[in-house]
Amino acid sequence: MILRAEKLSKRYFRRTGQANHFYAVREVCLELHPGEVTVLMGRSGSGKTTLLHMLSGLLRPDEGSVWLGDAELYRLDDGVLSRLRNARIGVVPQGRSAIDSLTVWENILLPGLLYNGNERRLEAERWMDALGIAALRDARPAELSGGELRRMAIARALTQNPEVLLADEPTGDLDDENTIRALSALRDAAHGEGKAVLLVSHEEEARRYADRIYRMDGGKLTAL
């Protein structure tokens, strides 16, 4: 097991009849294992994205803890946590995540450049090929479609060569062919390279690539 979440909870303010807050995630325990694809399914608003952000160290939980190996993420200093995220956790967020001032190629190489200047060109070329965006190398994000941007974000996370890869609706903007490409690439990263992959998705197609499946409903996690 690489990543472990213990009794994670996150509340948000919302004026309701009974209380002035609601639980987006409630006492969730989860483990991600090397070489496995874990698929997290659930309806919109069920807390999937909130959970993913907490697992990646981007959103501090109100309760509970997240462990990456021996390191408890939210006890780390911001500098250490950021460096750790850069080295060991790859994230594909929902929506646009490109840096507009950089080309597709530069966007993909960026994580490797932030600390050690390791551009990982070979990995970048490999994943761009695998995801069908090799021809877009010099294009600007503004010139790309939603699907192309999504595949660029996946290629960037894979090029980062992390131990844990967390992808939030990675196939949301993709057609069938590219959905298969993307899911295959993520599965290859898990099965071929031993990465722990978490796929947040509400698409049934994702089930076919899963080693474990969970469902979230009302902030609670259930294994299927």
């Binding site: 500098g79 460096r83 967020p93 995540s97 001032s101 960026l110 932030l114």
Partner: protein
């Protein structure tokens, strides 16, 4: 590509936004540098005037007050044509407390065939003069001979040139350092040369019967008061003892100038202050808008592993680049406005105006640049601080 190139790429990606930031910084630098140079020039001019004047009291013919303002006498060098009998010099020297009394005689040349240029000629007595002589000695170490002229720095005559004054051939032997006053447009000679020029002027029918009666005339007496004597008391005594003359304390003339200078300095400082506050406010709003617009991009950088400190460094690098470019542009623009129009500014303000030396100007430019960078850093730092308080996860969730 290197990660350090990211700020430059970000700025180049949005040229309009970048240009607006640079323009704001340039406006700030222009006002600060331009204002500082003008104020320093006025202060330098006043210092130069005080240092060069040296006299405690000036005794002028009673008629002088109606012909020229005392302030202009000092600042514009409008010495004019007013004369008193040279015996007034002896009367002045009789007054207790007068240490040195140095006479000067004024004559204006004409814009006519007889004169090379229209200029104010000031005759000084080499024996007693302590006002102009030290200043002349900085440029011309020898004694002034007959028909020798030393010209102010703004007089259009070169050293070695022959200048005609009422058809008298005079030799330009030296050029004086700039004072920032109207005296820069005057020429200086000995009293003997002045007598020859006055006679020539009278022969041309343009003077005021100042030599025809055989009595010597002078235009002003510069008095230095002996140590231990009260200048006001000596001034009163002079007014009582010397007939048909007025003794004026130079300090009172300088004070008037100094007051005007203080007023102008205050106004400029206020304007600079207003521009600073406005620029800071506008920069804060502009940076806040920029951060808001790019909050998702910054959240993505956090997601990729950029720390809060790294993000602040990125934002501050962008603001520093804008401030640096704007600061340099503003300083260059201010220099292009202030330096070529020194004479115009001087005549408009009617105050002594002496541009500081290159070292001081460079120091002002460096200070302005530093101030512009500080303002940029404050605005950028505030924006970065606000950004660091937001969870990137929350931003990504909101903007998805």
């Amino acid at each position: 590509m290197k990660a350090s190139q990211l700020p430059i790429k970000n700025l180049m990606r949005r040229p309009g936004r970048t240009a607006a930031m640079i323009l704001l910084s340039a406006l700030l630098a222009l006002s600060v540098f331009g204002g500082s140079v003008v104020v320093r020039s006025l202060q330098s001019g006043l210092n130069s005037l005080e240092a060069r004047l040296g006299a405690d009291i000036i005794v002028l013919p009673a008629e002088a007050e109606s012909k020229v303002s005392f302030k202009n006498l000092l600042l514009q060098g409008t010495a004019g044509a007013y004369y008193m009998d040279a015996s007034a010099l002896d009367r002045v020297r009789e007054v207790e407390g007068v240490e040195i009394a140095a006479p000067q005689t004024f004559l204006a040349s004409l814009k006519a065939d007889c004169c090379s240029i229209k200029v104010q000629v000031i005759g000084v007595d080499p024996e007693s003069d302590y006002v102009v002589k030290p200043w002349i000695e900085q440029s011309y170490a020898r004694e002034l001979g007959d028909m020798d002229l030393v010209v102010g720095c703004l007089v259009t005559a070169d050293v070695g040139e022959i200048m005609r004054v009422y058809d008298q051939r005079c030799h330009v032997v030296a050029r004086l350092a700039r004072t920032g006053t109207g005296l820069d447009t005057a020429v200086y000679c000995t009293m003997d040369t002045m007598k020859a020029l006055l006679a020539a002027a009278e022969a041309k029918g343009v003077s005021h019967k100042i030599t025809s009666d055989g009595r010597e005339r002078i235009s002003a007496i510069y008095v230095k008061v002996r140590d231990g004597y009260d200048v006001d008391a000596v001034n009163s005594k002079l007014n009582g003892h010397v007939r048909k003359a007025t003794a004026v304390r130079t300090r009172s003339m300088i004070t008037g100038v100094s007051d005007s200078l203080a007023g102008i300095s205050r106004t400029i400082a206020l304007l600079v202050g207003v521009v600073w506050v406005m620029a800071l406010a506008i920069l804060l709003v502009a940076f806040a808008m920029m951060i808001h617009e790019r909050r998702r991009e910054f959240a993505v950088l956090r997601l990729l592993g950029t720390s809060r400190r790294g993000l602040s460094r990125l934002i501050l690098s962008e603001t520093a680049l804008c401030s640096l470019l704007g600061g340099l542009a503003g300083i260059a623009a201010a220099a292009a406005v202030v330096f070529p129009f020194t004479t115009l500014i001087e005549s408009r303000l009617g105050l002594p105006y002496l541009t500081p030396h290159a070292g001081a100007v460079l120091a002002l430019a460096a200070g302005t640049l530093a101030a512009t960078l500080v303002i940029g850093a404050l605005a950028g730092g505030w924006a970065a601080y606000r950004l660091s308080r937001t969870d990137p996860g929350t931003t990504l969730r909101e903007g998805a």
